[in-house]
Subunit: 349 residues, 2 copies
């Protein structure tokens, strides 16, 4: 079915995902003053009085965004909500509502749909999010899910990618590369299973990595802690396609450069050891592995004392002038220009 590749597809590859989105969206006019922030940010912003509504929408397709041979339905449900909500959180907003559309093929049982929505419910319960829309339809080609998340933030607390200033601190929540390492393990076990279906999966001791891949968490906790600490970040985004891509994106929007330090990158010990066993350099995965859903943000130097008190936030570098580009200082003191690498079929710019 997909053999019929059009040579013009090359044009799409050249443009890259973000180039294509820019090209297509430029044709659209804007008519409403309430449309405060549109395409190009993590989520859209609609102004209503002094409040902003944040809207993010994502689509998840079987065999593109998830592989049902190793993703339990309950985890999948949880993840679809968590990932969509993570775009709300990336604007320093708190998620409030979600709407969900599910297209199911007739091989699905009631029990299977129940499992899927149970996972969604767990995530909604954990983050006090209301399901305000649910639609079902049939699918001929596999499971398809779309989720729209809605969040709220007042004008003062709204943070976007643009806004970082020179000398500000570059901060990352949690740790990096674990989700991608989990994916490597799952893919490896899938290959073993394909060859010998009687072989038991060898995943003991890797539960943290698998959980990071299968059941990521939106960092609502970090947003809440930043508010408690009275810190408003100057810029913010989430880490979906690796730190390098997120940082380059943030610096481009802020018209700034950056320097980060290899020895400051937050990498969990299990991630580090597992990648070492697999002969993979963990820095590469921390920079370019996908699906961490951690927050990347910048804070003014004056906020450093307040920031120190927040757990699970690492300062990894600082903002420089645009001409500096985006540099990684390695453990052996070399400077390497950061490059973004996506993992989708559509090149991530």
């Amino acid at each position: 079915m997909e053999q019929d590749v059009n040579p013009k597809v090359e044009e799409i590859k050249e443009l890259g995902k973000f180039g294509l989105i820019k090209l297509l969206s430029e044709k659209f006019d804007h008519y409403n003053d309430s449309s405060l922030v549109g395409i190009g940010e993590n989520a859209a912003v609609i102004a209503i009085g002094n409040n902003d509504m944040i809207v993010s929408s994502k689509m998840f397709l079987e065999n593109v965004h998830f592989d049902m041979t190793y993703v339990p339905l309950k985890h999948l449900g949880y993840k679809t909500i968590a990932v969509t909500v993570s775009d709300i959180v990336a604007m320093n907003a708190l998620p409030k509502q979600v709407t969900v559309n599910i297209a199911i093929s007739n091989r699905f049982s009631l029990e299977a749909i129940n499992e899927l929505t149970l996972g969604m419910q767990r995530c909604c319960d954990r983050y006090k999010i209301d399901l305000i829309g649910l639609d079902l339809s049939s699918s001929q080609t596999g499971l398809a899910i779309s989720v729209t998340a809605i969040g709220e933030v007042d004008d003062q607390h709204l943070v976007q990618r643009a806004g970082a200033e020179e000398n500000e601190l570059i901060c990352v929540s949690g740790d990096l590369g674990a989700a991608y390492t989990g994916l490597i393990l799952l893919e490896r076990e899938k290959k073993v299973f394909d060859v010998n279906p009687n072989e038991q999966p060898q995943l003991d001791g890797y539960s943290y990595l698998l959980e990071r891949q299968l059941k990521p968490e939106p960092r609502v906790d970090i947003i809440e802690k930043l508010r408690e600490a009275d810190i408003i970040p100057t810029s913010m985004t989430n880490v979906c396609d690796g730190l390098a891509s997120a940082l380059i994106h943030l610096c481009k929007a802020s018209q700034k450069g950056s320097v980060i330090f290899e020895n400051k990158l937050p990498i969990d010990m299990l991630t580090f050891r597992t990648l070492k066993d697999l002969n993979i350099v963990s820095t590469t995965i921390a920079l370019n592995g996908g699906e961490d859903y951690e927050l990347l943000f910048t804070v003014a130097q004056k906020d450093y004392e307040k920031l120190k008190k927040i757990e699970n936030v690492a300062v990894v570098g600082y903002i420089k002038e645009a001409a500096a580009g985006n540099q990684l200082v390695t453990n052996d003191d070399r400077q390497i220009e950061l490059r973004a690498q996506g993992f989708g079929e559509i090149k991530e710019e």
Copy 2:
């Protein structure tokens, strides 16, 4: 792939689409006071001060919701926006923003994506809607589109399915059955083409029917005219799966019954003649054909004089007590109990 039918699928069929949505959504708790209206209405309502935000989200899958053998991409783009927006309009709200996700397979050229988004743009331009989010991903199985529409309405003008009172007038905008008649014609031509690809499609003179199927319009104009006429309907919904289904749904939510008259049903002359040629009773299609996207609403008797001045609105009957059920009075003066018929694989209740 889809051979592996699970016997439990029967459970899903028994529940029906709305039964299943109810069952699944009941597990979710509500945490936020701003979540005013949730599942079960045409769209969700989020309260912000005296304003309500209306949110509607839909997913469109190739070979389920549309057939690319006869749907031009530009029309498809237009229709995805129009259909989603029609759920906003059905709450007596005006659409303001949309976000769009598109998953495309690698057989798509840049030109094809351009056509698709050009159609979306046309619809946005026509109804002064801002595209505030656009995401692209790849698909292995065909084109998939999800659209989320956001609208605004003040508290006073928000109208839901519930609210109709006895003796109120049942009104329908535009005409019924044309979109489904257009679909019959397109399916017929597709069959002819499958047998003999050299045969030219015989669709001359049917452009109104084809347009109703391929490029429906959300009735934003009716909402605007109702406001100009200072009429706030007492209940409202849109006609997606036929008038019968919409009316039964509205009456159930309002805990009322209804009577409508066959000779009052607004059926376009071309629809009538075409169906006659096809040996199909047009009343059946007006009641049970899909995709009209017209508005069904009730108004108080006192508003009748104001209502008369609005073009393209027909009074088809009136609201009765719940015990009366939902009756059609035929042209030969028989009473028939209305039944809802869906066209999806998932039974529409």
